[in-house]
């Protein structure tokens, strides 16, 4: 197991049209895309959804291989969904039957639909994280959630927590890797045995990791205080999010497109 292969929230810097779109619009459009996927009904709406995804991938200049890589980890989930859909969708047109199990045309169709949905959902969201830096993401979330400040939701604090978490993920992964190698060198075994044994082998890894995370948190808080951090009040930003007219046009065009697909999907196209 190599922890440094984890690509959580990985960002590929670039200067494509997708990279440049205001991150707030990107987040909203990704969410709307997911909704549209679930409103899609017939072959037509699925194909349009897939076409949109392909166009966005092409525009973002992210390689299809990278997108495929983001889908790979949920392979098992896709498989389970497929099996459940095949066997549990009620249908008339029986193709194969054995004991209580039967495969129907309806089941196969529903499985294909579900798989397509999940793949497009994950690929679509991965385009969001691939083309948006963690800073932009957390800034955009802060900005999108800012109306909630009226009901006393600590929006700035939430976004600061997220960005610090993202900042420390690589540091903690590196540290976990180091502790693991140190323990492997002393004969610890993380790879064999059943699930329980493996989880148990993780405990001596997690304890030092937690202790050091708390020490880091202490030191970071001190360093932030020394740099005059005082919450969100009166704080300015180096990069302030500012949507250009072009961003508005793109947003509303895509919004209309999604609405049209959803309506078509509801009518079975």
């Amino acid at each position: 197991m190599n922890l440094s292969n984890i690509t959580l929230g990985q960002y590929f810097p670039g200067d494509s049209a997708v990279h440049r779109l205001d991150p707030r619009y990107k987040i909203v459009l990704t969410l709307l895309y997911i909704v549209t996927l679930f409103l899609a009904g017939g072959v037509f709406s699925y194909l349009v959804c897939a076409a949109i995804l392909l166009v966005v991938i092409f525009l973002s200049r992210i390689s299809l291989r990278m997108v495929a890589k983001s889908v790979a980890p949920i392979g098992v989930l896709i498989l389970i969904t497929a099996v459940l859909n095949i066997f549990y969708t009620p249908g008339e047109n029986i193709l194969w039957q054995w004991w209580v199990l039967k495969i129907t045309t309806e089941g196969i169709l529903s499985a294909i639909r579900m798989i397509a949905r999940i793949i497009m959902l994950v690929a679509g969201s991965s385009i969001l994280t691939y083309t948006t830096s963690p800073i932009q993401l957390t800034d955009a979330i802060e900005s999108l959630l800012s109306p909630l400040r009226v009901i006393r939701v600590p929006v700035h604090e939430i976004s600061m927590m997220m960005s610090i978490a993202l900042r420390f993920i690589p540091t903690l992964i590196e540290e976990a890797d180091k502790i693991m190698s140190a323990q492997k060198a002393r004969g610890a075994d993380f790879e064999s045995g059943n699930v329980f044994r493996r989880v148990k082998a993780m405990i001596p890894l997690l304890v030092p990791l937690f202790i050091s995370a708390f020490r880091r948190a202490d030191e970071l808080a001190l360093a932030m205080e020394c740099r005059c951090y005082n919450g969100g009040k009166g704080r300015t930003r180096l990069h302030k999010l500012k949507a250009a007219p072009k961003d508005h046009v793109i947003f509303f065009t895509v919004l209309l497109l999604f609405a049209a697909i959803s309506v078509a999907g509801r009518f079975g196209y």
Binding site: E219, C226, Y229
Partner: protein, 278 residues
């Protein structure tokens, strides 16, 4: 003399512990000077540093920053802005996952307008020689580079003084050299007062003034040329003089006529060569 930092009879103990960490400590730091603070582990150096920017307040006595009393809440952010602080572990003081955002952090907290933040970030990165890394991820940098980013983040506050608590303790020799060069540049080009807490004698040698602390008291204070000639006194505070001084002192004991004040390796070599050729 224009003092930037002044401790007057400051005493301090941590809550829920017995025994004071600092006892009746008085110290003035001159504006534009480069002071090294030495002391064995647990002597109270980090505690003293935290008194300087109002992270901790003295139990009795006073600490003044540019004439402002650190116990006066109204001056808190003004004091923290003037006295920048850099710590030992570079990983635990970098806030952001992009270099420029991290350098901007303090200026953002101070409510500096975006254009001005941009200028300060670019200037600070140029000063520490890290301009080309402006959009890099800090976790991919070397220890010395990370520490220079931390220093840049502090200079973006445009402080009068920068206090560094063992900034080179986790660095390799190349990283240490880069950080020391950066500190000299801050002092010489920007006129920033430097207070460097360190365990490395060769770094203390580069200062104008060395303050030795033992058990919360100042025990030696003077130019490196003075302080380091007291080999035995230093040893009694669990510190050792720079190796050049130890060598010169051993040569003196052996009867060679060399001055203990030749402390840099070059001066030491010259002094020995001169004494031998006589």
């Amino acid at each position: 003399m224009d003092t930037i930092l002044r401790c007057e009879h400051a005493a301090f103990h941590y809550p829920d512990t017995d025994g004071a960490v600092l006892h009746d400590l008085s110290l003035s730091i001159e504006r534009g000077s480069f002071t090294a603070v030495l002391g064995h582990n647990g002597s109270g150096k980090s505690t003293l540093a935290k008194l300087f920017n109002a992270i901790l307040l003295p139990d009795s006595g006073k600490v003044y920053v540019d004439g402002m009393d650190t116990s006066d809440e109204a001056h808190l952010f003004d004091i923290r802005r003037r006295i920048g602080m850099v710590f030992q572990n570079p990983d635990n003081q970098i806030v952001s996952s992009v270099v420029e955002e991290d350098v901007a952090f303090a200026a953002e907290n101070l409510g500096v307008p975006p254009d001005e933040i941009r200028r300060r970030v670019d200037d600070a990165l140029a000063t520490v020689g890290m301009t080309e890394f402006v959009r890099h991820a800090p976790h991919l940098l070397s220890g010395g580079q990370k520490q220079r980013i931390a220093i840049a983040g502090v200079i973006a506050m445009e402080p009068d003084c920068i206090v560094l608590d063992e900034p080179t303790a986790m660095l390799d020799p190349a990283g240490r050299r880069d950080v020391m060069q950066t500190l000299h540049r801050l002092r010489n080009e920007l006129g920033i007062t430097v207070v460097l807490i360190t365990h490395h004698m060769d770094e203390a040698l580069q200062a104008d003034r060395v303050v030795v602390i033992s058990d919360g008291r100042i025990v030696l204070d003077g130019a490196p040329g003075d302080v380091f000639t007291h080999c035995d006194t230093l040893a009694s505070y669990s510190l050792s003089a720079p190796e050049t001084v130890l060598l010169l002192s051993a040569l003196q004991d052996a009867g060679l006529d060399v001055p203990l004040t030749a402390m840099t390796p070059e001066a030491c070599a010259d002094a020995i060569a001169a004494a031998l050729s006589e």
